[in-house]
C-alpha cells in the first residue's frame, strides 16, 4: 500500500504585497508536477496557504516542501 499525504503550511501575517510577491516568485517553478505530486497556493485572510499532496515516494514530497519553503523565505528576506 502506498502512502498518501496532504500537508498544509500557513505563512501568517503577510501584507497583500508580500503574499503576491511570494506567489508570483514561486509559481513558474512549480508547474508540470509529476502525476503523484501537487501543490496549490492560496490567500486566506492574512495568510498564504500552501497545500502539498503526495502519493508514493514520501521523500519527493519532503524535498518539494523543503525547497518551496526555502524559496518563500528567500523572497521575504530580499524584499525586506
Amino acid at each position: 500500500m502506498s502512502l498518501e499525504c496532504k500537508v498544509q503550511v500557513f505563512l501568517n501575517n503577510l501584507t497583500p504585497q508580500k503574499s503576491n510577491a511570494i506567489r508570483k516568485a514561486l509559481t513558474p517553478d512549480n508547474i508540470n508536477f509529476p502525476e503523484n505530486l501537487s501543490m496549490e497556493i492560496e490567500n486566506v485572510n492574512n495568510s498564504l496557504v500552501f497545500t502539498f499532496q503526495g502519493k508514493g515516494n514520501i521523500r519527493t514530497l519532503i524535498s518539494t516542501i523543503d525547497e518551496v519553503l526555502e524559496h518563500a523565505q528567500v523572497v521575504l528576506r530580499v524584499i525586506g
Binding site: 503576491n20 528567500v74 524584499i79
Partner: protein, 327 residues
C-alpha cells in the same frame, strides 16, 4: 539606464548593477559569493542552492550599497535562466521574480553563455569576433551570423573546465581547480604523451581525463603540464581552423578557463599567424558574475519588453545557438 543582473547557474551567486549609456556600459558593482565543496568533491546542486539561498539577501544588499542605488532606481532586472543546475537556477529566478513583482520592475531571462560573450565584447571592445567560450559548463567555438551565435566546434563530451576540475579533484583539491592546475603545470616542462582527440572541428576530453588520472601517481606537476599542453593544443587546432574558415579578424576568449595564461599564449600565437586581433576577458570577469547577466539584459531591453513574470522559467538545458539576438 540601470540594470540589476543575478547569476546563479552553478557555484557562484552574484548580483551586479550596470549602467548603460548609449552603447557603453559601466559596472557600478559586482558582488559574488562562491560555493566551495569539500576538497576532492564536486558541486552538489542542492548544497550549492542552499548556499545561494542563504547568501542571496546579503549579496543583493551589498551590491546595491556599493553601486549607491536603491531598488526603486533600477530600470530592469535580469537573471540567468539557463543553462545550469536546476536548484541553483531557481534561487536566482526566485530572487529576480520577487524583486520584479514587489517593485514592479521589468524582468528579463538571460542565457548565461550569451552573457559571457556580451560582457567580454563590452569589456574588450571586440566588434565581430570568433569566440572561444571555455568554462565548467561550455566548450564552444562560435561566430555570429544572421541573428544567432553559430557553433563552429564544441566538445563531444566533458567541457574543458570539467576536465581541469576532475583532474584537480582526483588530486584532492576543491573545485574549481583551474588556478591550482595552472600553478602546478608552470613548475614542469616534462611532457608525457597523452591522447589528443580532435574529430572534425570538435574535441573530446574524456580519454584525456582517464589517461591523465593514470599518470598523476608518477608526478602531479608533469601530469598537469602535459594535460594543459594537450588540451590547449586541441583547442588551439580547432580554433585556428575556425578562424581560417570564417575569416574573422578578431578572436575573443571568454569563460572561467579564459583566465588561464598558457591558453592565452597558445591562442595568441594562432592569432599572429592569421593576422588577427586577440582579446581575452579580464581575469576578474572571465568567470561567472552578475555583470554578464546585467549587461545582456540591458542590451535585450533596447529591443524588447520585459517578460511576464508567469513566463519567467528556468531552463537547465538551453543551447546558445537557439537564442535569437535582436539588438
Amino acid at each position: 539606464m540601470l540594470g540589476l543582473g543575478i547569476e546563479s547557474t552553478a557555484h557562484t551567486f552574484s548580483c551586479a548593477i550596470l549602467e548603460k549609456k548609449g552603447k557603453k556600459g559601466k559596472i557600478l558593482s559586482d558582488i559574488r559569493k562562491i560555493y566551495r565543496p569539500p576538497d576532492g568533491e564536486g558541486i552538489h546542486p542542492r548544497e550549492a542552492s542552499r548556499h545561494h539561498a542563504e547568501n542571496s539577501p546579503e549579496v543583493l544588499s551589498e551590491c546595491l550599497k556599493k553601486a549607491g542605488v536603491k531598488m526603486t532606481d533600477l530600470d530592469i532586472i535580469s537573471y540567468a535562466a539557463g543553462p545550469g543546475l536546476g536548484p541553483c537556477l531557481r534561487i536566482g529566478a526566485v530572487v529576480a521574480r520577487s524583486l520584479a513583482s514587489y517593485y514592479k520592475i521589468p524582468i528579463y531571462p538571460v542565457n548565461h553563455a550569451l552573457g559571457h560573450i556580451e560582457l567580454g565584447k563590452m569589456l574588450t571592445g571586440a566588434k565581430d569576433p570568433l569566440v572561444l567560450l571555455v568554462s565548467g559548463g561550455h566548450t564552444m567555438i562560435l561566430a555570429f551570423l544572421s541573428k544567432k551565435w553559430r557553433v563552429f566546434g564544441e566538445t563531444l563530451d566533458i567541457t574543458l573546465g570539467q576536465l581541469l576540475d576532475q583532474i584537480g579533484r582526483s588530486a584532492g583539491f576543491a573545485s574549481p581547480c583551474g588556478t591550482k592546475i595552472e600553478e602546478l603545470a608552470s613548475k614542469s616542462t616534462n611532457y608525457v604523451n597523452l591522447p589528443y582527440v580532435v574529430k572534425g572541428n570538435d574535441v573530446s576530453f574524456s580519454g584525456l581525463l582517464s589517461a591523465t588520472k593514470q599518470i598523476i601517481p608518477k608526478g602531479l606537476e608533469d601530469a598537469c603540464f602535459s594535460l594543459q599542453e594537450t588540451a590547449f593544443a586541441m583547442i588551439g587546432e580547432a580554433t585556428e581552423r575556425a578562424l581560417s574558415f570564417t575569416g574573422k579578424k578578431e578572436l575573443l576568449i571568454v569563460g572561467g578557463v579564459a583566465a588561464n595564461k598558457r591558453l592565452s599564449e597558445i591562442l595568441q600565437s594562432v592569432c599572429k599567424r592569421h593576422n588577427c586581433k586577440f582579446f581575452v576577458s579580464p581575469r576578474e570577469y572571465a568567470g561567472d558574475c552578475g555583470s554578464q547577466i546585467s549587461w545582456t539584459g540591458l542590451l535585450e531591453s533596447s529591443t524588447k519588453q520585459g517578460v511576464p513574470i508567469e513566463e519567467t522559467f528556468v531552463r537547465q538545458s538551453w543551447r546558445l545557438d537557439t537564442v535569437e539576438v535582436m539588438y
